[in-house]
């Protein structure tokens, strides 16, 4: 007899802010209060509002408790569950009304969201196949096996307009059609779960919150193209995701939803996991295939495309996690339902990982066509500390920075490409006036230089030369001609690199050059960093008028670069100064300037 469910978020965000401990604490407190039999504690996937983690939701009231600490557990148990009184101080403020709880869907964060890929995240216990089944899990697989021919499945996905969510945006149905058209024989379905963009955690959250939907989608894909085996290529750095996938596979096999003769249909399908060692290039589909085969993760030239000659030389489809998460829902609700969401050329929804200078850091899923302004200002809650918005970075190291003037464009594949960025896998990093755009471009280039596999010269050598120029610029040693060389290199590498990694690596530089040329010019011509980030271009000075000689800065300086007598103005020795900013933070009179 269970009358109440406590859902504790077990996503990575809340996990790292201590939700694991909450789970066990709830169990012990409930037992102590004699409620162990009537209240069930469930560990779910990500709710999305990671900034307010750990998140705990209590049903049937639907009370959304945020930032729950270990010390709050007892209060929730004795007040809410024993006495039936809400713990108002812990409720998410937007859900508190006079005497009742408002639905989460009415809050700014959730109102404009539409959860399709994430529909079970934060709803079910990902380690229990029965909960997935309760929410119509595996019904889509049952539907295709009993009612649809493989070509009907391909047609349904084609008609839905679903495009690859890993970044490329290639129509998923077309990919399936190519593979299905290959002569019958050994074929494979691969799930690309090698999410590597800095700041992106959409796929991770789906795997952690709803692993069975990926298995179901892979089986559907297998049926559609005539494959009986699938591989999930997932980063070893995602331990929770890997653990839950393993549990899910074992449960699906035990229940007979993976393996031989599924649901008595004669269709066989099984899935194995391959762990990636964290090389960014292995997210590129052909490098991923090499890695699964046990070879070095180098990209292969295309054509032949994997749909013709993929894993072990056999026809293979490779779909991203989020793409697959949409599949069962399309099958159950129909292609028209899916195609009704989004814009003309980009259907459905997209999950974004919101990060950087934004109030509601977390995971959001919005219909395509939502504007960047809605995402950042309404759903994301705007920029903290009243700072001014400067740019939003989408698409990670392959994407670009979008300035304020383009905030009102509707988000879809083609619009983002048109303004010099890409949809990418869904990382969205917001930057404010304190971010230096040259420094941002350098950051992403450092990443791609590190992750370049070295197989082709434009990428191996070219982007390293680009990074060197950026280092010169941020050190104040560049000449105006360097900017031309940099831009020329960008276009050359885009055209000549072997795989997606190299072809898109110049994007962060190109887009910042396009929209923030003035910042590059300030670095190059005036030897100045307008945002005050590039250390080598900064100097710290103490205003003798304002300095009271309190000695606080001198005592806080790690290199003893500040000298002066008590109650007399101090001075900074620029030769010793390492520009750490500790003096500014310590000064109570705002007497120290950074220029």
């Amino acid at each position: 007899m269970v009358r109440s469910h406590i859902l504790v978020c077990g996503g990575t965000g809340c996990h790292s802010s201590g939700s694991d401990k909450l789970y066990t604490l709830f169990e012990s407190e409930l037992a102590a209060a004699g409620l162990g039999d009537e209240v069930k504690v469930i560990k779910t996937g990500c709710f999305g509002l990671c900034a307010l983690g750990p998140v705990v939701v209590v049903y049937p009231e639907g009370a959304f408790y945020s930032q729950v600490g270990a010390e709050d557990v007892k209060e929730i148990v004795t007040e809410h569950l024993l006495k039936g009184r809400l713990v108002k101080r812990l409720l998410y403020t937007e859900t508190v009304a006079e005497d009742t709880i408002l639905s989460l869907d009415s809050t700014d964060f959730y109102r404009k969201q539409k959860r399709v890929a994430l529909q079970n995240c934060g709803v079910i216990d990902p380690e229990d196949i029965n909960e997935y089944v309760a929410y119509d899990g595996y019904m889509a697989l049952a539907k295709v096996l009993t009612e649809m021919k493989p070509e009907d499945v391909v047609a349904e996905i084609l008609n839905s307009g679903l495009r690859g969510r890993g970044g490329g945006g290639f129509p998923t149905g077309t990919k399936w059609k190519f593979a299905a058209a290959q002569p019958a024989g050994e074929k494979y379905v691969c799930c690309n779960a090698d999410e590597g963009d800095p700041g992106a955690f959409m796929d991770r959250s789906v795997l952690e919150g709803d692993p069975h939907c990926i298995l179901e989608a892979m089986a559907i894909a297998g049926y559609a193209i005539g494959a009986s085996h699938g591989y999930i290529y997932v980063r070893a750095e995602y331990p929770i995701a890997v653990k839950r996938l393993r549990i899910a596979i074992a449960q699906a096999r035990e229940t007979g939803l993976l393996g031989g003769n599924i649901l008595g249909s004669g269709f066989d399908f099984d899935v194995d996991i391959r762990l990636g060692a964290g090389a960014f290039v292995c997210g590129e589909e052909t490098a991923l295939l090499n890695s699964i085969e046990g070879r070095r993760g180098d990209p292969r030239p295309r054509p032949p495309f994997p749909a013709v000659k993929g894993l072990f030389g056999k026809p293979t489809i490779i779909n991203n996690v989020e793409t697959l998460a949409n599949i069962p829902r399309i099958i159950l609700n129909g292609a028209d339902w899916f195609a009704a969401m989004g814009t003309e050329k980009s259907k459905g929804t997209k999950v974004f990982a919101l990060g950087g200078k934004i109030n509601h850091t977390g995971l959001v899923e919005i219909p395509m066509g939502t504007t960047l302004r809605e995402i950042i200002e309404e759903i994301g809650g705007g920029i903290p500390d009243g700072k001014k918005f400067k740019a939003v970075q989408t698409g990670g190291p392959s994407g670009g920075c979008i300035p304020a003037q383009h905030l009102d464009i509707p988000v879809d594949y083609d619009n983002l490409t048109a303004i010099g960025s890409i949809m990418g896998s869904g990382g969205m990093i917001v930057m404010d006036e304190d971010n230096c755009m040259v420094d941002i471009a350098k950051f992403f280039l450092e990443f791609t230089v590190d992750e370049s596999c070295g197989k082709c010269t434009p990428c191996r050598v070219g982007i390293r030369r680009m990074l060197e120029i950026l280092e010169k610029i941020t050190a104040g040693q560049a000449v105006p001609e360097d900017l031309d060389t940099l831009e020329g290199l960008c276009y050359f590498i885009k055209e000549n690199a072997l795989c997606g990694l190299g072809q898109t690596a110049p994007n962060p530089v190109l887009s910042t050059l396009r929209y923030f040329r003035d910042e590059y010019d300030a670095h190059v011509r005036e030897k100045r960093c307008p945002a005050g980030v590039c250390k080598k271009l900064l100097s710290y000075t103490i205003d003798p008028e304002k300095c009271r000689g309190c000695t606080l800065c001198a005592r806080n300086c790690p290199t003893n670069a500040i000298s002066g007598e008590l109650k007399k103005p101090h001075v900074i020795d620029t030769a010793k100064c390492i520009k750490c900013g500790a003096c500014i933070d310590s000064c109570k009179f705002a007497a120290i300037y950074r220029r």
Partner: protein
């Protein structure tokens, strides 16, 4: 599991176990006063009886919740049933024995058990 029918049966069985997690959309809400006065008068077994009855009858669109003191402590245990339109029926002196009848007559068939309500008892 070897057939679609088995999968459907499992789904239907599991659906009844997650009914409480529905955000809104409940046809009826049974609210049991569980403040000190209610608990002292025996609200807990009443609460348990409602849960059990609702579960056995697989009434997934009905939610049983607890609340604090309703303010009429002399009538405890007090149970309030809210219909879809927000109309409210207040039952007083509820015992576990009265629960099956309230569920059968009111929750399932929509006719309040007048003799258990506050109107019939507050004279």
């Amino acid at each position: 599991m070897k057939s679609l029918a088995e999968l459907q049966a499992l789904r239907d069985e599991m659906k009844t176990k997650i009914g409480v997690r529905k955000d809104g959309g409940h046809r009826m809400r049974v609210v049991v006063g569980m403040a000190t006065c209610g608990i002292a008068a025996g609200a807990r077994p009443v609460f348990a009886a409602f849960i059990k009855e609702i579960e056995t009858r697989k009434l997934t669109d009905v939610v049983v919740a607890q609340t604090g003191c309703i303010g009429i402590c002399q009538f405890e245990p007090v149970v309030e049933i809210y219909g879809e339109g927000g109309e409210k029926t207040t039952y007083v002196y509820v015992t576990p024995e009265k629960v099956p009848r309230i569920v059968a007559q009111h929750v399932v068939n929509g006719t309040p058990v007048v003799e258990y309500t506050i109107g019939a008892n507050a004279k």
